[in-house]
Each structure stands twice: as C-alpha cells, then as structure tokens.
C-alpha cells in the first residue's frame, strides 16, 4: 500500500503546507480577511478540520452548525481576520455539547491540571463512511480517526494545509514550539501506524 500511495502522491506537485511563518501578522490578517467568505472552498476546508474534531459524529453536522452560527452573526464576523478560527471553535463547542448531551455531563471537560481529557462519543457514526473518499484515503482517515484527540486534530489541520500560526490559534496551544513538536510526534505515529496497517 505504501508504494502504491507514494506513486500516486509523486504525481501531485502541490507542496505540503505552504507555511507562512515569515509573513508579517498584518499581511497575514489582510490575506485572511480577503479569504473571508462562506463559499464552498471555505466549507470544504471546514469538513477536513471537522473530520479531525469529531471522532464518531457526523462532520457535516458540525460544519452545518458552524455555518449556521456564522450566518446568524454575519454582521459581527463578516470582517473578522480569522473566520476559520471562529468556525473551528464553534465546531469544537458543538462536538463537546453533543458528547455532554449523550453522556449527561454537567461539569467541564478539563482535568484538574488543565489538560484536555480524552473525549469519546457513543453515537458511533462512521466518519469514513460519511465522507465518501477513495478506499486508499479511507484507510488513511481511519488510521487518523483511531489516534488520540490531539493527533487527530493537528493532523487534520495539517491536511487542510494550515500554517503553524493558524494551527496554534486553532488548537489553543500556548507556544509555536508545542505545535511543532505535537505535529512532529503525530506524524511519526501516523507513519508507524501506516506501516502496520
């Protein structure tokens, strides 16, 4: 499978993650404002990220929820420098709400030391079946889905070609170094899992 994938990927000339670390924040913000629009590309990009947020719930439902929220508050968010961050935050919130509803949680979902607790959903929706992609990439998505929350999230953000700065904002991590080391470790884990798949 590895070789087959490699062959297919070598035909793809798109560079991975065209990071914009060297850009000034102001220019970066301007680009984001220019990108601000609830068009198909934006929504499809949210589907990729939603696949990393939700484990066993419908990613399209999360995207739909975020879309409805932004639509309702469009006047407020129309010129927001990072509309995607708003959408990601909303999707995370919706996912947690869903789990709380299913498990009747009435307290917060953070450990005493402030770290995230692992969230699992009992509704058992197969995301890979929901997003109808080719069998090769279904396997990749399944492997990512079987990984921990943090890896799932950061790997799908990387799949959306997000730069490090954006990843930091969307994951809520304090430092860029943490984002880099998390991504590095998760990619190593993905590689390992791919070898044994």
């Amino acid at each position: 499978m590895d070789q087959h994938l490699r062959k297919k990927m070598s035909t793809n000339s798109l560079p991975f993650n065209n990071y914009k670390n060297n850009l000034d924040l102001s220019i970066y913000d301007i680009i984001n404002v220019m990108k601000n629009s609830l068009n198909q590309d934006f929504i499809k990009s949210l589907v990729v990220i939603a696949a990393g947020i939700s484990k066993n719930s419908d990613p399209y439902e999360l995207v739909n929820g975020a879309f409805e929220y932004i639509k309702k508050n469009w006047e407020k968010y129309e010129e927001h420098p990072n509309l995607k961050a708003i959408a990601v935050l909303k999707m995370k919130g919706l996912f947690i709400d869903e789990i709380r509803k299913n498990k009747n949680f009435d307290n917060n979902l953070v450990n005493e030391d402030g770290s995230d607790i692992e969230i699992s959903d009992s509704s058992q929706i197969d995301i890979v079946e929901k997003i109808q992609i080719s069998s090769e990439y279904s396997k990749v998505l399944k492997i990512i889905q079987s990984m921990g929350d943090k890896c799932r999230e950061i790997l799908m953000l990387a799949a959306d070609e997000m730069d490090m700065k954006e990843m930091q904002i969307k994951t809520g991590v304090n430092s860029l170094g943490t984002v880099l080391s998390r991504l590095s470790n998760c990619r190593k884990e993905l590689r390992e899992r791919m070898l044994h798949a």
């Binding site: 590895d2 994938l5 490699r6 297919k8 990927m9 070598s10 793809n12 798109l14 560079p15 991975f16 993650n17 065209n18 990071y19 670390n21 629009s37 609830l38 068009n39 198909q40 590309d41 929504i43 499809k44 990009s45 589907v47 990729v48 696949a51 399209y60 995207v63 739909n64 879309f67 639509k71 469009w74 997003i131 109808q132 992609i133 080719s134 990439y137 990749v140 998505l141 990512i144 790997l155 799908m156 990387a158 799949a159 959306d160 070609e161 490090m164 880099l180 080391s181 991504l183 590095s184 990619r187 190593k188 993905l190 590689r191 791919m194």
Partner: protein
C-alpha cells in the same frame, strides 16, 4: 544531534533559510536522518492528498443549497447598500443650491485650490452619474467665485454647437459667464462609467478665480448623454 523538528521543517520547506544549508549537510551525512526526512516527506504528502481528497467530495445537498442561498442574500445586501451609497453621493446642484454653497465653504476650509485631487479623468468620471447638470467638483472657496459667475446654461448651449465638430488639440472660445468668454483647448477624449463619450477641455490661460486675484488653469469635462453635451466635471489645476 539534529532535532527532528528541524528535519520536519526541512521536509515541509518551512525551515529558516539561514539554517537550511547546515541541516541539509547533516542529513546528507547521516542515513538515519535521511530516513526520518523520507518519513516526514511521506506523511506530509499523505496528509496533503487526504485533505485534497476530502475537499474533492461534493458537499451534501442541504449544505450546498444553504451556501448558495447565503451568498445570494449577502451579495444582494451589498448591491443594495452600494446603490444607496451612490445615490447619496450625487451632488445635484439644481436642487441643492444652498447645500452646495455650504459644502464649498466647508471644503474650502480644508482643501487647497485643487478641485479634484486625482488628475486621471477616468477615475474622476467613474465617480459621476449619467445625468446632466450635476457637475462634480471639489475644492476651495475659489470655486464659489468661479461657479457664481459661471453661466452653465449658456456654456452648455454653446458647447452643444461646437462639441461635435471640434477635433483634438483644437482651440475654441466659449462663454463661461454672461460677459466673459475664454479660450479652451480640447485635450482629451475619454469615456465615463456608462461608456458615454466625454471630452476634456483646458483653458489656454489662467483665469482669475478670486477677488484677491488668484489665477488658475481650469479643466472641464463634458459628456454626451442622449445626444446632449453637458458639463460633468470641473477641475482647477
């Protein structure tokens, strides 16, 4: 010992350019690093392709319809607000003589003797409407003196007689007030935003605009709407 994060950044092409050479050398000299680099390149391409694959899947119909509907409604709102904005910007001297005088005095306090700051006629014309008798101008108090004595009706009557005949760079004389005629030169032919034919004429000598004696060249833009030429723009140069 080379940090694996540096290798990842090297694989993704995001490493600081100043470090690139150093990291490349270390990778080239160590097969273990080379293997790590290959793995990062592999996962990078894998994730990139996965993202593209998901994005290539059509959205569910309900979501797709919502996006279309939303974009239609927002573009409609934008168009409406744009229209009302343009409408408010129309400076109709015919109905707002008092307001106009007020504006001139007000603007005179802030601006220099320039009536229109941007000298590009296309830019100026893009801001005008298609109606006749609504000249656009910005400037100082000197415009009041000029416009007070300017006989627009007479000017338009005369320009309609000669505008179709004159050629570029040709000079001609035309009345700007009840008892004053000055020489203008046809300098430019342009189109307004409605694709109407327009000509730009410039006075061949400076005209006294204020009682204090300040003199300026004047440029006028005349546009043809429904076969009628009328003044649309006044510039003091």
């Amino acid at each position: 010992m080379l940090d694996e994060i540096k290798i990842m950044q090297f694989a993704d092409g995001t490493l600081d350019p100043s470090e690139k050479e150093k990291v490349k050398k270390q990778i080239d000299n160590n097969p273990e690093y080379k293997k790590i680099l290959d793995d990062y390149i592999y996962t990078g391409e894998l994730l990139n392709n996965l993202g593209n694959e998901i994005k290539s899947v059509p959205l569910p119909k309900y979501l797709y319809n919502k996006i279309i509907q939303f974009n239609k409604s927002t573009s409609k709102i934008k168009t409406e607000s744009k229209l009302s904005f343009s409408f408010l910007n129309i400076f109709n001297i015919k109905y707002s003589a008092i307001a106009a005088a007020f504006c001139f005095v007000f603007m005179g306090g802030f601006l220099t003797n320039q009536f229109v700051t941007n000298q590009n006629p296309n830019y100026q014309l893009a801001q005008q409407t298609n109606k006749t008798y609504n000249p656009v101008f910005r400037g100082s108090a000197s415009i009041i003196n000029f416009y007070e004595s300017f006989n627009e009706r007479k000017f338009n009557e005369e320009i309609n007689v000669i505008a179709n005949k004159i050629k570029k760079n040709e000079k001609f004389e035309i009345s700007i007030s009840d008892n004053q005629s000055i020489k203008f030169q046809y300098t430019e032919s342009v189109k307004d935003k409605n694709n109407n034919e327009c000509i730009v004429i410039k006075s061949d000598k400076k005209i006294k605009l204020t009682s204090e004696g300040s003199e300026n060249l004047i440029s006028l833009t005349i546009c043809k709407t429904n076969n009628y030429w009328s003044l649309t723009n006044i510039n003091i140069l």
